[in-house]
Symmetry: C2
Subunit: 324 residues, 2 copies
């Protein structure tokens, strides 16, 4: 009996992961390359083709139904990565077209957070949900919004930039967008490191954070200090969680989701960030919404989630397609 | 040849308007009753039945396909008005059921802002749009969000409470919800009156607003003063528009609409509020969204819009139905 597989590719600023996935979300085979080791997009496509060839041969070329790609600033409507600040290929990169031609397979692109939301929808915590919001808390803050069982694309395909909504008018200026007081300015790993530097500097109580220079304080350091019980490091998460919760309340009032699913490196902080986020979200909700929305972490393994989500697009070509 | 008509009913805190509407949005006949003159919901249903009987007879009962109702806190999923602060019928009112039984016709309920959005979608400025947001700026601030050609209901039917999103953390406390710094606290007619009182009191420059006691300053007074060229009254709209624009930018980043359509009494201020709102919205958007979203006033006559929107639900029973 013939089986059906899809290739899922997750392009990140540093690493690109790929896998051969079946319709049940089982990863048959996977691999990884350094994104940065390919100076041009053409060399990148050649590179992953070379890596994937043996895996494709093993699964049987005739069984592979298509390729799904999740990438920063990936536009589902035109198949192009558009001006991605976190990738070294600049401008508009027609990646779906290039991959499709090289592999001789249909190729669908989406942005990384939308791909992760699809992974959650098909294989994760949102399997039985029609309305949820996926928030990716990593170097940046991304989001994938599912309404009525479908990804929300909006008029031009770029709906769901919740990381760039403002929660502190005239607040901290974002290092790259220039916008002030956005969710990403505070709740991303980068934002957490900035908060930690500020708090370490201002703190009168002793803190492990003071053992590091400002430049050495990363979100990883904050995580380590908090794990050791450092009060100031914990306060960094308390503050971050409170702000995140305020933002989540605004999102809930927009699309009334069944759940908000948090994903990405920042969620390693666990209850230190989840508990204040939950409390603050509830406090900022209208009565009718209180206690109605599940706030949870993703159930997918971080290493697989993006590949799964990307691969799932192949099976949903018809239902997810929303051309302008 | 038989014609097809729908009854549209717009229930407001003070007045209830109704009309017999054809599929092209032509209002055949219309009427009005004082909502407050009916102490119970049953007397209200009897009252509008009595008023509508001659209009139904004129159109031909067999030609009437159903009844659509727009009401504050109207829940589309269960046909009930739920705890509407602006209506004197308290608790949960199963109005769709009561009306359907009395009139012996199918009856569909929605909240007033969602009904207005449907009116705009079928007969107004959004006729060719799949993604837009309708913001009603009246005594309160309501919203109806259309994504991919459908009203956004969310998990429990109450999506689109954008008036209650926070734009000024720890800002002005809302008189009824208790939430601080929400859009409605500032950008509703009530909020505008409060801003005007504050500005009149604090202003060192002469202003017509000072001729009124605080209690006398309503949004209508602000409107009149601004029309006479009063600088402080104009500043009230400048401030309100700027805050509204900030909120709109957040909404745009969520659903990437083609347009945001403003509707309701506050829009009488015209360019005085539209211009600062536009400028501020653009300033708070990510580059990719700048210049992409039309910000406009509704093209529907205020008196007809809600009736049209309510009636349109009858024709869209299948496509708009999204049971939980």
């Amino acid at each position: 009996m013939n089986q059906a597989f899809a290739i899922g590719i997750d392009i990140g600023g540093t690493n690109t992961k790929f896998g051969i996935v079946d319709q049940q979300g089982k990863v048959l085979d996977e691999g990884e390359v350094k994104t940065t080791s390919f100076p041009t997009i053409n060399s990148f496509v050649e590179g992953i083709y070379k890596q994937l060839q043996p895996l494709i041969a093993k699964a049987g070329k005739e069984n592979i139904k298509g390729i799904g790609i999740g990438a920063p600033n990936g536009n589902h409507f035109n198949g192009c990565i558009e001006h991605a600040p976190n990738l070294h290929w600049k401008g508009i990169v027609p990646i779906a077209d290039l991959v499709s031609k090289k592999f001789e397979l249909p190729c669908i692109l989406n942005n990384d957070a939308k791909a992760a939301a699809l992974g959650e929808l098909h294989f994760g915590a949102a399997r039985n949900m029609k309305d949820f919001i996926m928030i990716t808390l990593g170097t940046g803050v991304g989001s994938g919004i599912v309404v009525n069982g479908q990804l929300l694309y909006g008029h031009k395909g770029n709906a769901g930039e919740l990381g760039h909504t403002v929660i502190r008018p005239n607040g901290r200026q974002h290092w790259s967008t220039g916008l002030k007081g956005t969710v990403e300015s505070y709740c991303s790993a980068t934002g957490i490191a900035i908060t930690a530097r500020e708090m370490a500097q201002q703190s009168e109580e002793p803190t492990l954070l003071k053992r590091y220079s400002a430049a050495e304080i990363t979100s990883k350091v904050v995580d380590e200090c908090a794990e050791k019980g450092d009060a100031v490091a914990k306060k960094v998460y308390q503050f971050t969680g409170e702000l995140l919760g305020e933002a989540l309340a605004n999102f809930v009032l927009f699309s009334a989701p069944e759940a908000i699913i948090l994903f990405g490196g920042v969620t390693k902080a666990g209850e230190l960030i989840l508990e204040p986020a939950k409390k603050s979200m509830e406090e900022h909700l209208l009565t009718a919404f209180k206690g109605q929305v599940k706030l949870m972490f993703s159930q997918l393994k971080a290493s697989d989630a993006a590949i799964l989500g990307a691969s799932s697009m192949v099976w949903n070509l018809k239902t997810d397609e929303q051309p302008d």
